[in-house]
Symmetry: D2
């Protein structure tokens, strides 16, 4: 083709889409800034320090008055120096209050000089609504099955990374939990979800919890309402402090 | 009714569901613990202190080498005493690197003795992927439209609570962001979502971002890929420090 | 290379990854098929023809006994030949029953020979739980604003495609709706979602409904419980038939 | 109390909330209807009959030219009278084209006079993207494990109800499928989801697919891109017709 022909053809090609789109549609009418400005309700003011002013303190460093033994009666774990510690053989403890959706802060410590390996080292657990276990374990240079290491949803979902501190140092969990809703047939209408920061690092990111977290077998869906925060006596002297919860 | 009659009636009531359900179905075969134990891949080990070992440090306290001016050229904000501060009139700055899904930690401070009210007091902003603004403002005893106060998704969603510290004190944002994906027609296939902790308190909880965050008009959906962290020069001397990001 | 050398080199290559990955982890213990087989509860048997046996028939072709006027009193629309039709000026009608999550089937027809354009042609509407409008309109060769055409979530989300049949022919909507849940502060804990098939074609795909669907202004979140199916009297003689609903 | 006192007390009670809420906030500025009206892009027009005009016909009633054997070579199933039927021992077949998100319509029939029980009666399967099986089985008066009956996500999620027609009659599946996206570590960033209508009745409602659907063991997450529609040769003479797919 000669150059001139080429230009003409190119022009025609260009015209086609122009013709196809020549229709003009109205644009949405212009708005002003104040049309998208909402003044109420003003969010509640919450002072963040030392703990959020709308938080329920679940341990004041002095006693376990907010807790009870799961098998009945008072919580019998050891309280000392502003810290409480699993007392082997006394069984799991749980908060007296029950919760739906919440933000929970909790700190926990594996004792220095801990011995053992895999699941046999610093094992405890935190049960959301008394049912869904976030694993507590010494995962510092201690490999185990990954859906059973610290910050896993037990026997379901491993943490994104292993953010564990050394034995003797305090670990923190910041947990954002959304409770499930149920259909009439007893299955989840909306499943529980959880976000966990371990020592400030995201290790569960809006993870769907698939049901119960049994040692043996698969997750099952059980209908439940609000439930307590439950801590596990797995026989190891894991310690806890600075526990607060905010209802969402 | 006499006691004996009562027992018989109770028995009949009990028999009805038994009859209705007399069909026996197999139970799932029993499992062993090891069937639900996964050992690999082992999650990456990340040491949490002083910043996560897999984080990219976006400010080392010394210079703005990780940042550039949005209008081109080097970032011209003021660096002093391990802190950088908006330099009025130099324009927004953004990271040289671009990000998809991430966890971001950032600290910011409104200067003590700040004057003004509503949007005219300590105004800046943090744009996720350069596009979606999380508001930065002095919201300490300073009411404004709630979808424009600190920790709001600007002109969309107010924070759940107002967790602001006083002028002169440092605030922190911990942000977990999931980038959108797009359909061929340019709409969201999955919208962006964001969780924000303001001073450790959940203020956005897996909130869906509906589109851009303009001052005037409604959110719009724009196709984009990875983008920078962008900070706004709104003319007010807001300061920043301790900024790190982890790609998720 | 001689054959023997080749074998040695191959061996070395093979050793490299072995060294890198030399750690051996247990595999999950093997399972049997019956471990993942659940026999109960057996899903309810529903015969699909002519309408699902668990459906509530909302119109039997004879009368509007399942419906009432929204402004009070009996529904006054016209019933003729197994079809009912908007009677201009009598106002919206709604089901006497209220619903939460549901699957709804409904057929509707624009009269042959319809005149008018844009919103002024065969306008009606279907309100989910009495609140959220799925638009009913003649969108056959009749352009209007796309978030106001047939099968749009009114003033929110246009349909994925325009699947409209000609005036005089019957259109069907198959709607799968999930009702919202609310937080104590009156915002959505989970927003309503809807999937719509228009004449068998997916036009809304698990779309999030952002709030009310007003003619003027932005969606607002109003707390509500179960609600009726409501049909709009917009002054145009749109007809309906074959309406059934299944609670989910 | 005397009447006058009562009025005063009532007035005081009323004043309390008034005092508490006396602060007046601005309302968002009023809008006009045209501010929320979007005219473009106009959704694509799709004529719905006899099949959607934007659908890919996967079987024209004449030959299996759109299909191939999974083990290689042409699809060898039997085509007769506008219908194709599993030819025992020839293996699974799959579409030559691969798909991401889609809407699929397919009709299938169990032969009249079928014998056998549980999984041994009219067994086939439809694999989404070649990977995730929606069960095809004679579930008419034939109990089996519920996560293995017709319209189950095999070995995962049973259908909401059993909507099966009799052997000799045609069943339909209308499937809305959203493909997964993956993170760099090979896990789901967003899991696959599926909605299934069986004979027009919702049996899977935006169900999350948890991974592969093996006969033995648990779902696993495998990274994959677009994939074919695959049909299973399980040895039973199940027939198919009227298959079309629309890319979403």
């Amino acid at each position: 083709m000669k150059r001139k022909e080429l230009i003409i053809v190119a022009g025609l090609i260009f015209l086609l889409p122009l013709n196809a789109q020549e229709k003009k549609y109205p644009e949405p009418a212009p708005m002003t800034p104040a049309m998208t400005e909402y003044w109420q309700p003003q969010p509640q003011v919450v002072t963040p320090d030392p703990v959020p002013s709308d938080a329920i303190l679940l341990f004041d460093g002095k006693d376990l008055s907010q807790w009870e033994s799961v098998k009945g009666g008072p919580a019998e774990w050891t309280v000392e120096n502003g810290v409480f510690t699993v007392k082997r053989g006394t069984g799991d403890i749980q908060t007296k209050r029950k919760f739906g959706d919440f933000q929970l802060h909790i700190e926990w410590r594996i004792p220095e000089g801990i011995q053992g390996e895999s699941q046999g080292r610093g094992n405890s657990g935190l049960f959301l609504q008394g049912i869904y276990e976030i694993q507590i374990l010494d995962s510092y240079k201690n490999e185990t099955y990954v859906n059973g290491q610290a910050a896993s949803i037990y026997k379901q979902t491993p943490p994104l990374v292993n953010a564990m501190r050394k034995p003797g140092e305090w670990n923190s969990y910041d947990i954002i939990y959304t409770a499930p809703t149920f259909k009439k047939d007893g299955t989840y209408r909306t499943p529980p979800t959880v976000t966990v920061l371990h020592n400030g690092i995201v290790v569960q990111n809006h993870t769907i919890i698939r049901g119960t977290t049994p040692y043996i077998g698969l997750p099952e869906v059980e209908v439940h309402g609000d439930g307590p925060i439950r801590l596990q006596d797995h026989g190891d002297p894991v310690s806890f402090r600075n526990i607060w919860i905010r209802e969402l």
